[in-house]
Symmetry: C2
Subunit: 104 residues, 2 copies
DNA sequence: ATAATATGAAACCTTTCAGTTTCTCTTTAT
DNA sequence: ATAAAGAGAAACTGAAAGGTTTCATATTAT
C-alpha cells in the first residue's frame, strides 16, 4: 500500500526536518547535506524515501538535482487523522453540549 | 523528544489498525490479539509503543488490562501537518485568488 | 583536455524493529 | 485447593533502517 510509504517517510525526524527545509524552496542534494551532520549518501537515502512516499519531487538541472516539496502527499495523513477527530474529548464535549441544548 | 514517539507509533500499519479498533471502545489485550494474525506478546509490544506515544491508556480491571484510545496525542501530528497547509497548491491558489480579490 | 563539482550506486556495518517461544505471576472459576 | 485465563518479561531470530566508505558517471569550469 502506498499509504504506508507516507507514514514511513514522515516517521524519521531527519526527513521531517528536510521537509521543513524544502518548504522554503527547491534545494540540491549538496545544499541539504550541508545542513545536516551526516554524509551525502545518507541524505540521499532519506530523499529517496521521501520520494517513494510522494512527498518530494526531483527535477534535473545540469549536474544538479533539485528537490521540491510535494505537500499534497500529506493529504493521506490528514485524512487518516480526520477519522479520529470525532473521538477527541473536546469534540465529544461539544457534541454532548449541543445534544443537551437540543433537549431544552 | 516525545513528539518523535507519536510519529514512531503511527508509522506501523498494525498499530494504526489497533487504533481504529480502539476507537469503538476499550479492549483487553486478548480481545485485540484475536483480531490479528500474530501472537499475544507481539500485540502487547505494539500496545506498549502506542502507550509510549501517548496514544493509548491502560486501565487495570481484575486480571484484564483495558486499553483505551487517547486521541488527543494526535494533536502533535495535526499541528505538524498544519504547518504545511500553506504550501498546498490548492491553498496557494485560494490565497492567490483572495489577494487578487483584495486588489479589486 | 583536465580538473572539479554533483550525484548515483554498491557493499558493508550496527542498531532497531517486529515477531516468536518460553517462563512466571496474578486473578478468577470450579 | 487447583486449574484456567489474562497478562508481563526475558531471550532469541531475521529483516529492515540508518549510517558509512568506496567507486563510477555525468556535467561544468579552467
Amino acid at each position: 500500500m502506498t499509504q504506508q510509504l507516507v507514514f514511513r517517510a514522515i516517521a524519521d525526524p531527519t526527513r521531517r526536518s528536510i521537509m521543513t527545509m524544502l518548504s522554503s524552496g527547491e534545494r540540491s542534494l549538496s545544499d541539504i547535506t550541508a545542513a545536516f551532520e551526516m554524509t551525502r549518501p545518507a541524505v540521499a537515502k532519506h530523499l529517496n524515501i521521501l520520494r517513494e512516499g510522494g512527498l518530494v519531487r526531483v527535477r534535473k538541472q545540469g549536474r544538479e538535482r533539485l528537490h521540491r516539496l510535494q505537500p499534497e502527499a500529506l493529504k493521506t495523513v490528514s485524512e487518516w487523522l480526520s477519522f479520529f477527530d470525532q473521538f477527541w474529548d473536546e469534540k465529544l464535549a461539544n457534541l454532548k453540549q449541543s445534544v443537551e441544548m437540543d433537549d431544552e
